[in-house]
Protein backbone atom coordinates (compact mmCIF):
# COMPACT_ATOMS: atom_id res chain seq x y z
CA UNK A 1 0.00 0.00 0.00
CA UNK A 2 2.89 2.37 0.77
CA UNK A 3 4.27 1.77 -2.72
CA UNK A 4 0.86 2.41 -4.23
CA UNK A 5 0.37 5.71 -2.40
CA UNK A 6 3.91 6.80 -3.21
CA UNK A 7 3.45 5.95 -6.89
CA UNK A 8 0.09 7.71 -7.00
CA UNK A 9 1.57 10.89 -5.50
CA UNK A 10 4.48 10.79 -7.93
CA UNK A 11 2.05 10.23 -10.80
CA UNK A 12 0.23 13.35 -9.64
CA UNK A 13 3.47 15.31 -9.93
CA UNK A 14 4.65 15.41 -6.34
CA UNK A 15 8.40 15.42 -5.91
CA UNK A 16 10.46 14.03 -3.03
CA UNK A 17 7.92 11.59 -1.61
CA UNK A 18 9.29 9.94 1.52
CA UNK A 19 7.90 6.82 3.17
CA UNK A 20 8.18 5.36 6.67
CA UNK A 21 6.96 2.13 8.21
CA UNK A 22 5.45 3.69 11.33
CA UNK A 23 4.98 6.96 13.20
CA UNK A 24 8.35 6.95 14.94
CA UNK A 25 10.23 6.50 11.67
CA UNK A 26 8.13 9.24 10.09
CA UNK A 27 9.04 11.63 12.88
CA UNK A 28 12.74 11.00 12.28
CA UNK A 29 12.27 12.00 8.65
CA UNK A 30 10.24 15.04 9.63
CA UNK A 31 12.91 16.19 12.05
CA UNK A 32 15.55 15.93 9.32
CA UNK A 33 13.77 17.73 6.45
CA UNK A 34 10.86 20.01 5.68
CA UNK A 35 7.74 18.01 4.90
CA UNK A 36 4.68 19.72 3.41
CA UNK A 37 2.04 17.02 3.67
CA UNK A 38 1.61 13.81 5.66
CA UNK A 39 -0.42 10.79 4.58
CA UNK A 40 -0.67 8.21 7.33
CA UNK A 41 -2.28 4.87 7.98
CA UNK A 42 -3.93 4.09 11.32
CA UNK A 43 -2.72 0.61 12.12
CA UNK A 44 1.04 0.84 12.54
CA UNK A 45 3.32 -0.41 15.22
CA UNK A 46 4.87 0.65 17.60
CA UNK A 47 3.51 4.18 17.08
CA UNK A 48 0.10 3.96 15.42
CA UNK A 49 -1.51 6.61 13.24
CA UNK A 50 -3.58 8.19 15.99
CA UNK A 51 -0.60 8.51 18.34
CA UNK A 52 1.42 9.95 15.48
CA UNK A 53 -1.21 12.57 14.66
CA UNK A 54 -1.63 13.53 18.30
CA UNK A 55 2.12 13.89 18.65
CA UNK A 56 2.28 16.21 15.67
CA UNK A 57 -0.58 18.34 16.96
CA UNK A 58 0.21 18.54 20.65
CA UNK A 59 3.78 17.62 21.48
CA UNK A 60 6.19 20.45 22.21
CA UNK A 61 8.77 18.71 20.06
CA UNK A 62 6.47 18.30 17.09
CA UNK A 63 8.39 19.07 13.90
CA UNK A 64 5.29 20.56 12.30
CA UNK A 65 2.23 21.50 14.31
CA UNK A 66 0.12 22.82 11.42
CA UNK A 67 1.02 20.32 8.75
CA UNK A 68 -1.90 18.94 6.70
CA UNK A 69 -2.45 15.28 7.60
CA UNK A 70 -4.48 12.86 5.51
CA UNK A 71 -5.35 9.57 7.19
CA UNK A 72 -5.74 6.62 4.84
CA UNK A 73 -7.29 3.69 6.64
CA UNK A 74 -9.56 0.68 6.37
CA UNK A 75 -11.08 1.65 9.73
CA UNK A 76 -13.69 3.79 8.08
CA UNK A 77 -16.60 3.43 10.48
CA UNK A 78 -18.15 6.70 11.63
CA UNK A 79 -16.81 6.36 15.20
CA UNK A 80 -13.29 5.74 13.97
CA UNK A 81 -13.39 8.73 11.64
CA UNK A 82 -14.48 10.83 14.59
CA UNK A 83 -11.56 9.52 16.65
CA UNK A 84 -9.20 10.42 13.83
CA UNK A 85 -10.71 13.91 13.49
CA UNK A 86 -10.46 14.46 17.24
CA UNK A 87 -6.79 13.46 17.08
CA UNK A 88 -6.26 16.28 14.57
CA UNK A 89 -6.26 14.91 11.04
CA UNK A 90 -7.12 17.19 8.17
CA UNK A 91 -8.87 14.66 5.93
CA UNK A 92 -9.74 10.97 5.92
CA UNK A 93 -9.65 8.59 2.96
CA UNK A 94 -11.21 5.16 3.43
CA UNK A 95 -9.43 2.14 2.00
CA UNK A 96 -9.93 0.81 -0.61
CA UNK A 97 -9.80 4.13 -2.41
CA UNK A 98 -10.02 5.20 -6.01
CA UNK A 99 -7.42 7.46 -7.60
CA UNK A 100 -10.22 9.94 -8.26
CA UNK A 101 -11.05 10.16 -4.57
CA UNK A 102 -7.39 10.47 -3.67
CA UNK A 103 -7.03 13.29 -6.18
CA UNK A 104 -10.13 15.03 -4.82
CA UNK A 105 -8.81 15.00 -1.25
CA UNK A 106 -5.31 16.13 -2.22
CA UNK A 107 -6.78 19.01 -4.22
CA UNK A 108 -8.99 20.04 -1.30
CA UNK A 109 -6.07 20.05 1.13
CA UNK A 110 -4.09 22.35 -1.16
CA UNK A 111 -6.86 24.56 -2.57
CA UNK A 112 -9.19 24.71 0.44
CA UNK A 113 -7.18 24.36 3.63
CA UNK A 114 -9.07 24.33 6.89
CA UNK A 115 -8.86 26.90 9.64
CA UNK A 116 -6.72 25.80 12.57
CA UNK A 117 -8.24 25.60 16.03
CA UNK A 118 -6.69 25.83 19.47
CA UNK A 119 -9.27 25.03 22.10
CA UNK A 120 -9.23 23.56 25.59
CA UNK A 121 -9.41 19.96 24.47
CA UNK A 122 -8.57 20.09 20.78
CA UNK A 123 -5.74 21.29 18.59
CA UNK A 124 -6.05 20.77 14.88
CA UNK A 125 -7.81 21.68 11.66
CA UNK A 126 -11.38 22.75 12.07
CA UNK A 127 -13.69 19.77 12.10
CA UNK A 128 -16.45 21.76 10.44
CA UNK A 129 -16.94 21.97 6.70
CA UNK A 130 -14.29 24.15 5.20
CA UNK A 131 -15.13 27.69 4.13
CA UNK A 132 -11.79 29.03 2.96
CA UNK A 133 -10.94 28.62 -0.69
CA UNK A 134 -7.86 29.54 -2.53
CA UNK A 135 -7.85 33.12 -3.76
CA UNK A 136 -6.57 34.02 -7.23
CA UNK A 137 -7.64 30.78 -8.85
CA UNK A 138 -10.38 29.80 -11.17
CA UNK A 139 -10.93 26.09 -10.71
CA UNK A 140 -13.24 25.97 -13.67
CA UNK A 141 -10.18 26.45 -15.78
CA UNK A 142 -8.92 23.07 -14.67
CA UNK A 143 -12.07 21.15 -15.62
Amino acid sequence: MVDLVKYTLESFGFKDVNSAKDGSSALKIMHSKKIDLVITDWMMDPMDGIEFVKYLRTNEESPSLFIPIIMLSGRAEKDNIQIARDAGITEFIAKPFTVEKFREIVISVIESPREFVFSGDFIGPSRRRRTATSPNIDDRRGQ
Partner: protein, 172 residues
Protein backbone atom coordinates in the same frame (compact mmCIF):
# COMPACT_ATOMS: atom_id res chain seq x y z
CA UNK B 1 1.05 28.46 8.79
CA UNK B 2 -1.25 30.93 10.40
CA UNK B 3 -1.95 34.59 10.42
CA UNK B 4 -0.83 36.30 13.59
CA UNK B 5 -4.21 37.35 14.95
CA UNK B 6 -6.64 34.56 15.52
CA UNK B 7 -10.29 35.19 16.06
CA UNK B 8 -11.67 33.95 19.33
CA UNK B 9 -15.05 32.29 19.31
CA UNK B 10 -17.68 32.13 22.06
CA UNK B 11 -16.07 29.10 23.68
CA UNK B 12 -12.71 30.84 23.87
CA UNK B 13 -11.15 28.77 21.10
CA UNK B 14 -8.55 30.56 19.02
CA UNK B 15 -9.12 30.07 15.31
CA UNK B 16 -6.44 30.83 12.77
CA UNK B 17 -7.12 31.39 9.11
CA UNK B 18 -4.98 29.24 6.84
CA UNK B 19 -2.17 30.96 4.98
CA UNK B 20 -2.32 28.66 1.93
CA UNK B 21 1.33 27.66 2.39
CA UNK B 22 0.99 24.57 0.21
CA UNK B 23 -0.87 26.48 -2.44
CA UNK B 24 1.81 29.16 -2.49
CA UNK B 25 4.43 26.47 -2.94
CA UNK B 26 2.58 25.03 -5.91
CA UNK B 27 1.82 28.44 -7.32
CA UNK B 28 -1.15 30.67 -6.59
CA UNK B 29 -2.07 30.93 -10.26
CA UNK B 30 -1.84 27.22 -10.92
CA UNK B 31 -4.91 25.03 -10.79
CA UNK B 32 -4.09 21.79 -9.00
CA UNK B 33 -7.15 20.22 -10.54
CA UNK B 34 -5.70 21.00 -13.93
CA UNK B 35 -2.22 19.82 -12.99
CA UNK B 36 -3.45 16.46 -11.70
CA UNK B 37 -4.86 15.73 -15.11
CA UNK B 38 -6.76 12.76 -16.51
CA UNK B 39 -3.48 11.58 -17.96
CA UNK B 40 -1.87 11.50 -14.54
CA UNK B 41 -4.88 9.74 -13.09
CA UNK B 42 -4.65 7.14 -15.84
CA UNK B 43 -0.98 6.58 -15.02
CA UNK B 44 -1.80 5.91 -11.39
CA UNK B 45 -4.70 3.69 -12.35
CA UNK B 46 -2.48 1.67 -14.68
CA UNK B 47 -0.18 0.92 -11.74
CA UNK B 48 -3.14 -0.36 -9.72
CA UNK B 49 -4.33 -2.48 -12.64
CA UNK B 50 -0.88 -4.06 -12.96
CA UNK B 51 -0.79 -4.79 -9.25
CA UNK B 52 -4.21 -6.45 -9.49
CA UNK B 53 -2.75 -9.10 -11.73
CA UNK B 54 0.06 -9.80 -9.28
CA UNK B 55 -1.70 -9.40 -5.97
CA UNK B 56 -2.50 -13.05 -5.34
CA UNK B 57 1.22 -13.69 -4.76
CA UNK B 58 1.45 -10.81 -2.34
CA UNK B 59 -1.78 -11.93 -0.71
CA UNK B 60 -0.33 -15.37 -0.11
CA UNK B 61 2.73 -13.84 1.56
CA UNK B 62 0.47 -11.78 3.79
CA UNK B 63 -1.48 -14.91 4.75
CA UNK B 64 1.78 -16.67 5.65
CA UNK B 65 2.68 -13.67 7.83
CA UNK B 66 -0.74 -13.72 9.41
CA UNK B 67 -0.56 -17.42 10.18
CA UNK B 68 2.87 -17.01 11.72
CA UNK B 69 1.82 -13.97 13.79
CA UNK B 70 -1.28 -15.75 15.07
CA UNK B 71 0.70 -18.85 15.93
CA UNK B 72 3.11 -16.69 17.94
CA UNK B 73 0.21 -14.99 19.69
CA UNK B 74 -1.37 -18.34 20.61
CA UNK B 75 1.88 -19.53 22.19
CA UNK B 76 1.63 -16.76 24.76
CA UNK B 77 -2.05 -17.03 25.56
CA UNK B 78 -1.39 -18.99 28.72
CA UNK B 79 1.25 -16.61 30.02
CA UNK B 80 0.48 -13.58 32.04
CA UNK B 81 2.37 -11.09 29.90
CA UNK B 82 -0.33 -8.77 28.77
CA UNK B 83 2.02 -6.27 27.08
CA UNK B 84 3.54 -8.93 24.86
CA UNK B 85 0.14 -10.45 24.17
CA UNK B 86 -1.25 -7.03 23.33
CA UNK B 87 1.61 -6.23 20.98
CA UNK B 88 1.30 -9.59 19.22
CA UNK B 89 -2.46 -9.25 18.94
CA UNK B 90 -2.05 -5.81 17.40
CA UNK B 91 0.22 -7.33 14.80
CA UNK B 92 -2.35 -9.99 13.94
CA UNK B 93 -5.05 -7.33 13.64
CA UNK B 94 -2.75 -5.12 11.60
CA UNK B 95 -1.98 -7.82 9.06
CA UNK B 96 -5.67 -8.77 8.82
CA UNK B 97 -6.62 -5.18 8.15
CA UNK B 98 -3.89 -4.90 5.51
CA UNK B 99 -5.27 -7.95 3.74
CA UNK B 100 -8.75 -6.47 3.89
CA UNK B 101 -7.64 -3.12 2.45
CA UNK B 102 -5.31 -4.51 -0.18
CA UNK B 103 -7.86 -7.10 -1.31
CA UNK B 104 -10.32 -4.29 -1.80
CA UNK B 105 -7.83 -2.27 -3.84
CA UNK B 106 -6.75 -5.18 -6.02
CA UNK B 107 -10.10 -6.74 -6.76
CA UNK B 108 -10.46 -9.65 -4.38
CA UNK B 109 -13.84 -8.81 -2.83
CA UNK B 110 -14.30 -12.22 -1.23
CA UNK B 111 -10.96 -11.88 0.57
CA UNK B 112 -12.03 -8.39 1.69
CA UNK B 113 -15.23 -9.79 3.19
CA UNK B 114 -13.49 -12.65 4.96
CA UNK B 115 -10.71 -10.44 6.31
CA UNK B 116 -13.31 -7.93 7.52
CA UNK B 117 -15.30 -10.66 9.27
CA UNK B 118 -12.11 -12.01 10.84
CA UNK B 119 -11.05 -8.56 12.02
CA UNK B 120 -14.42 -7.86 13.60
CA UNK B 121 -14.49 -11.29 15.24
CA UNK B 122 -11.05 -10.78 16.76
CA UNK B 123 -11.92 -7.28 17.97
CA UNK B 124 -15.05 -8.50 19.70
CA UNK B 125 -13.98 -11.88 20.98
CA UNK B 126 -13.42 -12.01 24.71
CA UNK B 127 -12.78 -15.72 25.13
CA UNK B 128 -9.43 -16.67 23.71
CA UNK B 129 -10.19 -20.38 23.85
CA UNK B 130 -9.85 -23.30 21.45
CA UNK B 131 -12.95 -22.29 19.50
CA UNK B 132 -11.44 -18.83 19.01
CA UNK B 133 -8.25 -20.38 17.66
CA UNK B 134 -10.22 -22.70 15.38
CA UNK B 135 -12.34 -19.91 13.96
CA UNK B 136 -9.35 -17.69 13.28
CA UNK B 137 -7.38 -20.53 11.72
CA UNK B 138 -10.24 -21.46 9.41
CA UNK B 139 -10.46 -17.85 8.24
CA UNK B 140 -6.72 -17.75 7.62
CA UNK B 141 -6.96 -20.99 5.62
CA UNK B 142 -9.84 -19.57 3.63
CA UNK B 143 -7.79 -16.49 2.75
CA UNK B 144 -4.93 -18.73 1.71
CA UNK B 145 -7.23 -20.76 -0.56
CA UNK B 146 -8.58 -17.58 -2.14
CA UNK B 147 -5.16 -16.30 -3.12
CA UNK B 148 -3.79 -19.73 -4.07
CA UNK B 149 -6.68 -20.27 -6.50
CA UNK B 150 -7.19 -16.60 -7.42
CA UNK B 151 -10.82 -16.69 -6.31
CA UNK B 152 -12.29 -13.30 -7.01
CA UNK B 153 -15.89 -13.50 -5.91
CA UNK B 154 -18.42 -15.69 -4.21
CA UNK B 155 -20.11 -17.00 -7.32
CA UNK B 156 -17.35 -19.39 -8.16
CA UNK B 157 -17.69 -23.03 -7.13
CA UNK B 158 -14.46 -23.02 -5.16
CA UNK B 159 -15.54 -19.95 -3.26
CA UNK B 160 -18.72 -21.68 -2.17
CA UNK B 161 -16.64 -24.48 -0.69
CA UNK B 162 -14.54 -21.89 1.15
CA UNK B 163 -17.60 -20.11 2.48
CA UNK B 164 -19.23 -23.38 3.54
CA UNK B 165 -16.19 -24.42 5.55
CA UNK B 166 -16.16 -21.01 7.25
CA UNK B 167 -19.82 -21.25 8.05
CA UNK B 168 -19.35 -24.72 9.51
CA UNK B 169 -16.41 -23.65 11.69
CA UNK B 170 -18.12 -20.57 13.07
CA UNK B 171 -21.41 -22.29 13.83
CA UNK B 172 -20.07 -25.20 15.95
Amino acid sequence: MTDKKPRVDKSGARIYKPDFALKKKVGMNISIAHEISEERLAKAQKFIDTKKGEYNQEGLKEVVLLRSAFREFCKNLDFDNSDKRCSEYKLVLNITLNIKSNSGMYDYPLATDIAKTLFEYMMECKNLDQKFKDVVNVHISALGAIFAHKIKDSDEELSQKVLNSLSEATST
